[in-house]
Amino acid sequence: MLRLIQTEFLKLRRRKLIWIMLLAALMMPFLALLYFKYLGKTDVDPMEFYRWAAFGFTVFIILPVVLGILCTMLMYEETRYDTAKQLWIVPVSQMGYFFSKFFVVLIYAVTFMLITAAATVLCGVPTGIIGFNWSSILFLLERCMELGGIISFAMLPILAVAACTKGYILPACLTIVYAFAGFILTPVNMYLHPLSSMLPILLRNKEMQGLTLTQDFRILPAVLCFCVWDLAAVAFVNVVLSRRK
């Protein structure tokens, strides 16, 4: 498996678009300064600043869309250049192939969130919006890494669809629908969709104030939601890839 993961990263050499997409990690920290009018304010509660700069739209919209595009690219390129056929006769197991791609998505998501965390600190501390405080920075880093990992699991169904289709249009379109569905379903029932199920995990210790949600934060149904979606995705990939081969 380690060999497979290593080769997955070798395949990404000279893929500029994949690295350019990481720039999206800087979007919300900078937008928070301007759009949410933090620029000029001082001594803002760090949790409130992090909420907009690092967690809000980045976690629920930007990163899921970026990861959806990444999933589509990783899978579509194998079909487009007919390399999957060469991999099967190495042999590479279908599930090993799928999970090695997932591992790339996982590392990418964590990297993305760490860049967001760094940009948030750089936008907040030097401008005086938030004070330098190790505990709040460590909280930000810890949650960003955690969320990076969780979002990659939330995107597993999109990776599964990308693995099972030969084109890029369906997984790309589904990414948009999936990301916005998570956003829309949050006020209805946050335990229906993996992206909305991230919210109780993110807010489990109630560090962030000011969020008014009509539902209770319960970890178990959130984890269960992830399990159901991810197991269904893995089973779907297993069946389709076995048939295709």
Partner: protein
């Protein structure tokens, strides 16, 4: 274990109502080059894909190394090198980088395996040219390099000379012959280029519309190819009459208004020529001929020739 490295029994593949491979019994002997000859779309690639387990079999059986491949892929694939259709590689990587990926995945132990494979096919090692910028011939060579990277016992090569220039074709041919004769590798090669198969193969299978029409060694095939006397004369009816009455043979055929093919090569041609001239039949030419593989292909497929 039988002598056959690959053996298929009643191998059949249907796509919906269409049968693309029909009850094929193929036998590839150890250490030999088996040429699968057929027109484009005859079913060669489908057979190779079924042998490799890349496409499901509708019915029949495939044995590789004496046993069914299904469920034994992990043991069998490392002993096989294959190119199926156009070899696919990552266009953003160089040839060496592409092969390094496959070497890593295969766990190829030899440290210089990539360099050796690239040297064999005549591609520069550690060249900066990306695969996406390769010509068709270079892509094909890299595909062959990938197939031999792990030093497999069995090579399955689907049209390996596609896109190569004449010199490249000759190089690949010599290299395939070397692999078989010097290293004892077993090779199943498909082609629609008849001359290539004729120059390479020890055994040949002729496939048309999914049906394996003929399977034999090249030596047997050469024996089967009929020898005949090609006779060009001014008057075919008169010449036919002379052959039947004076030489008591009906073993001939009329090709056109001036050409006869006499299959009874024991006839004394000097006597035949003399008899024809005595009856005022002008003999334009007379020569002993052999049917080519193309003639044979035409004969058994009952149609047009092949490249």
């Amino acid at each position: 274990m039988s002598d056959f490295l690959i053996e298929t029994r009643q191998l059949t593949k249907n796509y919906g109502d269409q049968t693309v491979v029909d009850s094929v019994n193929l036998h590839v002997k150890k250490g030999r080059i088996y040429g699968l000859l057929g027109r484009n779309g005859a079913g060669k690639t489908t057979i190779m894909k079924m042998i490799l387990g890349l496409t499901p079999i509708t019915s029949g059986e495939v044995k590789v190394f004496g046993r069914n491949i299904k469920g034994r892929e992990k043991k069998v694939y490392p002993r096989i090198g294959a190119i199926i259709e156009t070899p696919g590689f990552y266009p953003n990587l160089t040839g060496s980088e592409n092969l390094e990926i496959f070497a890593k995945l295969r766990g190829t132990a030899a440290p210089n395996a990539v360099k050796r494979a690239m040297d064999v096919v005549g591609l520069p090692y550690k060249d900066k040219k990306l695969f996406g910028k390769y010509s068709m011939g270079m892509k094909q060579r890299l595909g062959i390099a990938n197939a031999i990277l792990h030093d497999p016992e069995l090579l399955i090569l689907d049209e390996p000379t596609n896109g190569l220039d004449p010199i490249g074709i000759a190089e690949v041919r010599n290299f395939i012959l070397d692999l078989s004769k010097q290293e004892g590798k077993t090779i199943l090669i498909s082609s629609h280029i008849l001359s290539e198969i004729a120059l390479l193969a020890d055994d040949i299978g002729i496939i048309d519309h999914g049906v394996l029409l003929e399977e034999s060694s090249m030596r047997e095939l050469e024996k089967k190819n009929s020898r005949y006397i090609l006779l060009q004369v001014s008057d075919i009816p008169k010449a036919s009459l002379i052959l039947e009455r004076q030489f008591h043979t009906q073993d001939y055929s009329v090709s056109d208004n001036h050409t006869l093919r006499i299959y009874d090569t024991s006839l004394n041609m000097a006597a035949v020529n003399k008899a024809l001239m005595m009856e005022d039949v002008a003999v334009i030419s007379s020569q002993l001929c052999n049917d080519t593989l193309e003639d044979y292909f035409k004969k058994i497929t009952g149609g047009e020739g092949i490249a």
